[in-house]
């Protein structure tokens, strides 16, 4: 099973960034859970253990609550206040990709799209 990891986000827009990051991780086929104050409160003293179990099962745990100490290794990320949450999430994904924890897709034209663009460029006159 692929590894998960625990990430603790710190910064003004950590909750929005966590949502954007979890969404992107899910798009990339990964499991993701956000540990915010509400979830940590519901889990109570078991929250740290829950982190470890999820990570062990390949889930990316994104922690934005200060009221939990995960019972496993956790990367702490200080968010740049100038970044949009989406861009901050992409920077984190880049870091995860660098550590081979995720593989970021590189989208290019399909053969049909390539032909559609070629036809359109010829129609406009840029090419023949």
């Amino acid at each position: 099973m692929a590894r998960g990891t625990a990430l603790r986000l710190r910064g003004e827009f950590r909750e929005d960034t966590a949502k954007a990051l979890a969404q992107r991780l899910i798009e990339l086929g990964k499991g993701a859970e956000i540990f915010d104050d509400a979830l940590v409160s519901r889990l109570g003293p078991a929250a740290g253990l829950a982190c470890r179990l999820l990570v062990r099962n390949g889930v990316f745990v994104v922690i934005v609550s200060e009221h939990v100490e995960p019972d496993c290794e956790c990367k702490c990320i200080a968010l740049d206040p100038h970044d949009t949450p989406d861009f901050a999430a992409e920077k984190i994904l880049d870091m995860l990709a660098h550590e081979n924890l995720v593989s970021i897709e590189s989208h290019d034209y399909s053969p049909d799209e390539e032909e559609e663009i070629r036809r359109r460029l010829a129609d406009i006159g840029y090419i023949e």
Binding site: A20, D80, P81, H82, D83, T84, D86, F87, E90, S106, H107, D108, Y109, E113, E114, E116, I117, R118, R120, L121, A122, D123, I124, G125, Y126, I127, E128
Partner: protein
Amino acid sequence: MGNRSKRLLVIGLDCATPQFVFGPERFELPNLARLMSEGCWGPMQTCHPPITVPAWAVMMSSKDPGTLGVYGFRNRADYSYNGMTTANAAAIKEPRLWDILSQHGKKSVVLAVPQTYPVKPVNGWLVGGFLTPDTKTAYTYPKSLKTELEREVGEYIIDVKDFRTEDRHGLLKRIYALMENRFAQAEYLIRTRPWDFFMMVEMGVDRLHHAFWRFTDPSHPLFEPDNEFRAVIRDYYQAVDRRIGNLLQHVDEDTAILVVSDHGARAMHGGVCLNEWLMRQGYLVLQETLEGRKRIEDCSIDWSRTRAWGSGGYYGRIFFNVEGREPNGVVPAASYEAFRSKMIEEIEGMKGPDGSLLGNKVYRPQELYANVRGIAPDLFVYFGNLAWRSVGSVGFSDVFTFENDTGPDDADHDFHGIFILRDASARTGKVYPVVNILDIAPTLLDILGVPIPSDMQGRVLQ
């Protein structure tokens, strides 16, 4: 230069041409005129080739096309005979302005700038340019922006559909619809996003020139004085000027404003059938007898006897069939340069239909660029210095043609675009004889107080 601006708005008008904005017969464009009087301006010298791709990427990276490894819309992916790929965003490996600004915590809105599809993350919001294949694709960053824009502004009009048509009234409506759609998106984004850098590109000016130039320019061979479309280019420029005026209402005095184009336009006098010429000179040999016109890509070529072939468009590109480089190369590598010099001499000596020199310009990539990356054409050709387009198809009865086999097209590109900058610097009041496209990105970074990467090839405008 000092006196930096807090924000920067770039309004790109693809193909907007100096004669209509700066020249003695310029149109009445009050908003652009105000920016000129409050700022600095001049014609902008674009890159080789003077084409949308690569020009906007050159402008935003301050790297020449050779350094980018992008020589036009379609580039050779390898040395095979048919390995051509479209140069979309994935082809641009150098950072563009918004990439650099993202690294410095500046937020950008990038709207419909060419070569931004497939979209890449930016610290801000991005809508892919006209190389977006379809609105079904994920053409925005972040993805959620697509739904929001379609809900608030309407469907994204990527480009003018059915461009090759004799129905000029319908075409004009579609060009206006493209422009209105782009400015509506811009006005929505400029109001709703906390940006430091905002850039949009309007493609309609380019489409308008190609479709209607003959009706405006008395020097065009097909010009008729009393035609019903005589004023459409002027009217369109004035409509764009009004939309710019609306957009400017959303920015304050601390915002620097650049209105810029990637190249200009000029009358197209006809086409030079490049591959017909190569065949007649004995450089290109087909294995088939032609019955009618045909794209060169669809022809059966005798590569064992072919030394060069070309591709068409607003400029010509010639590729040599070199021994040890192409699969069935016949031009000995040792005589490559001699062969290239001979061909330059022959093309520059080409005479037009009236028997006088056509005035062709031919360039080796190595003399144009600081680096030649990827696979460049062996020669760039500007027929009549861009008064004539390059026709790549074969099956014509002559080397020269006065019709476009893909439909009406009145204009070719020109080397000078427009540059109008209003900022808080000492440049105010200057009229530049010419502004180099490579100088734009460093100047914009300087305006925003962001360090200029040392490998940019331009300099800050003084």
